[in-house]
Amino acid sequence: MNVLSDPLLLSRLQFAVTIMFHIIFPTATIGLGLYLVIIEILWLSTKDELYYRMCRFWGRVFAINFGVGVVSGVVMEFEFGTNWARFSALGANVFAPLLYFEVLTAFFLEAGFLGIMLFGWMRVSRSIHFLSTCLVAGGSILSALWIVAANSWMQTPAGFRLEGGQFVAAGFRAVIFNPSTLVRFSHMVAAAFETSAFAVAGIGAFFLLKGRNVAFFRRSMGVALVSAALFAPLQLYLGDASGRQVFHLQPVKLAAMEGLWETNTASGAPFALVGLPDADKERNAFEISIPSALSLLVTHTLSGRVPGLKAFPRQDRPNVAVLFTSFRLMVAIGFLFLFVMIWAAVLWKRKRLFTQRAFLWTLAVIQVFGWVAVEMGWVTAEVGRQPWLVYGVMRTSEAVSPIRPGNVVWSLALFVIIFFSIGASYVYYVLRAFWRGPDMASPIPHVQRRAGLRILEDSPAPPADA
């Protein structure tokens, strides 16, 4: 099938491109938002000037990130209509209110208080400024709740009935808090916290190695590592909970994620560590697996029954090769992050956390993988839902807009060019901001100093709170 003449494939590709670009920025917004709240608490309670400088510097990074996130988000708001008009018209009764409430309750909050948070240091009291930071961070998390709820409804639809093809709402509590919303929301937010923590830690580690602005980045890295230590293990638990949710509610997706073709009858289903799925021959061409491990993982028994792909009709199966790979990548990165944090704990006990060069290099390199894990997770979730748009109810092929494929070729090319140039600029400016380092010289606003100030420490010993 020629890609350029198929509006379905083109629209899917376009949605994938736009959303995979967009998701990077809310992830950083949510993660950095929490970070900013933490360091502002530290500033307000310790009155240590270094924390104030951290607030201003990481706030600037936050602003650049937020800007790109907003503009890529505008695309998403309208893309349901431009490319998925049939779904929009039929599903709006149930689906649209969630997007509407996201803007009304969460996004307005973030955007409304962002100005004060970034530019109002001199104009409002310390309490009001801190409140603004909290509302921006809280707004981003509330945003995630609504968006994940909307996406979860597409994965595990509830609270509706069909009237002649039209979705009709039958209780919005069931729609919003459908069976997978809370698990997926927790998993996404933890991912945002963890990825951002590793990103800040990695950047800090890099500058520690280069010997630039050492005191500043050591403190930044320290706070980030505390966050990472909390969320790396938590995320593995949440990921497991998410996976078991998929097993119960979207079994064909689980089978595809695990490259499981045969439903196990006698013994437990094996967990494939590596493999080469072959969709035509309905088997894995090559596989290294742990016997019974999959049954153990999803049913918590050694011989629990796990449906294989062959139990489902071919036209209902998602792309196994993609899912098997993306899922394994995401999990591998999750474990890698956990092991790095265990290493960090050992180094901290030995008081070598900020000086062990191998560790610092590791942190600097792996922070990219956090972003890869986020993308792989979403690929697993969305490609795994195919061929359904609303799982089990409406197929993606039934949802596309009645427009010419030429339209989508044009817009897809436009978005690729735009996002590539914006993305490259973003990386350039952010890296340059890091290299330039924090502004340590500008006077601290009077209203922020009123409660007193502790002189900037410059001792080479790690600060007590690291």
């Binding site: 907003v70 503009v71 309208f78 049939r86 709006a92 409304g112 044009w410």
Partner: protein, 332 residues
């Protein structure tokens, strides 16, 4: 049904808020051609830096509200006006990142061009989208059934161009409030000049519209509707005269108020002429609405949360009240 009418008004209000608030931001970018020095441009950007994001959010709210309340309109207009809508978004993307990237960069020129061009593209596309709606979107059943370039005709291009002086007028009046000295002086002059251009283009668009949208003549001539519709041009003319006077008297806030009234008189006049059609002439608001349960759920949300949003938005404007300088808060 009353619920549908209330929602129609709410959607109209959201779009009005967006158009005025972001119109100011877009208009400020349009003025870059008349304020060439880097420091002046920094002042201009800093007049809107703390509020532009919240302003743009009204667009997302409007889009979300149309999706939730009038899904057929959302679906049909997004498909039918695919090209101008996506062009509009592309313009917004460049305009949006230009704030941050210009602030970070040492060679500001490139991002100032992005700011200006992105805003210009956004404004033209907005107008062509509106013009496209007024010139008719082909439908079959409840779906779009036309071609990719139906919206492109001289009238829609005219509407696109016509919006530019409107936003320039709003922005210059806003600058009168937010700036001092030579920038403010030039802002006064631009406000006065652009008002005349706005009146001229409004007249052209008004005369031209019935050729594409003959139905509107019945709205303009049949009583009692006509009495309502004709208040708008009268209001507009009064506002234009008041604006001129307030500029001569060097008042601070009056020009902005008059500019908003003038702008709204045109905008609301068009909306009032559209009713009860959601997409003329194919579909009426009644037929495009969502189910009552959804309308109620979202309406409750609006009634409870919107006053809060308006309050803290107002608070944010109040925090940043007063004149904008070159240094200090804002982007460098």
């Amino acid at each position: 049904m009353l619920l549908i009418d209330v929602w129609a008004i709410l959607v109209g209000l959201a779009m009005v808020l967006y158009v005025v608030l972001d119109g100011i931001s877009l208009g400020v970018a349009m003025l870059f051609g008349m304020f060439v020095h880097g420091k002046e441009r920094s002042v201009l950007i800093n007049t809107i830096a703390p509020v532009w994001d919240a302003n743009q959010t009204w667009l997302l709210f409007g889009g979300g509200a149309i999706f939730a309340a009038f899904p057929v309109v959302y679906a049909v207009l997004s498909s039918g006006l695919y090209v101008p809508l996506i062009t509009f978004i592309a313009g917004l993307i460049f305009r949006g990142v230009a704030f941050e990237f210009r602030g970070e960069s040492t060679r500001k020129g490139a991002w100032e061009w992005a700011f200006f061009l992105g805003s210009l593209v956004a404004v033209l596309s907005q107008g062509m989208t509106l013009g496209g709606v007024l010139t008719g979107v082909a439908m079959r059943g409840r779906e779009f059934a036309g071609g990719p370039l139906d919206w492109l005709n001289p009238f829609s291009v005219m509407v696109g161009i016509a919006i530019i002086p409107g936003y320039v007028m709003l922005a210059s009046a806003y600058l009168v409030v937010k700036t001092t000295g030579s920038i403010q002086d030039r802002a006064y002059a631009i406000a006065r000049g652009s008002t005349l251009v706005v009146l001229a283009v409004m007249a052209i668009v008004t005369v031209w519209m019935p050729f594409h949208y003959p139905l509107i003549l019945t709205h303009w001539t049949g009583a009692p509707r006509a009495y309502f519709v004709w208040t708008f041009p009268v209001l507009g003319l009064l506002a234009a005269w008041a604006l001129s006077k307030s500029v001569r008297k060097r008042r601070t806030f009056a020009p902005l108020v008059c500019a908003i009234v003038l702008f709204l008189s045109g905008y609301l006049g068009v909306l009032a002429s559209l009713y009860p059609y959601a997409i003329p002439p194919s579909i009426k608001i009644r037929e495009a609405a969502a189910q009552p349960e959804s309308l109620l759920f979202t309406l409750w949300g609006a009634l409870i949360v919107l006053p809060l949003v308006l309050a803290y938005t107002g608070y944010s404007y109040w925090v940043f009240r007063g004149k904008t300088g070159e240094e200090g808060e804002g982007y460098s």
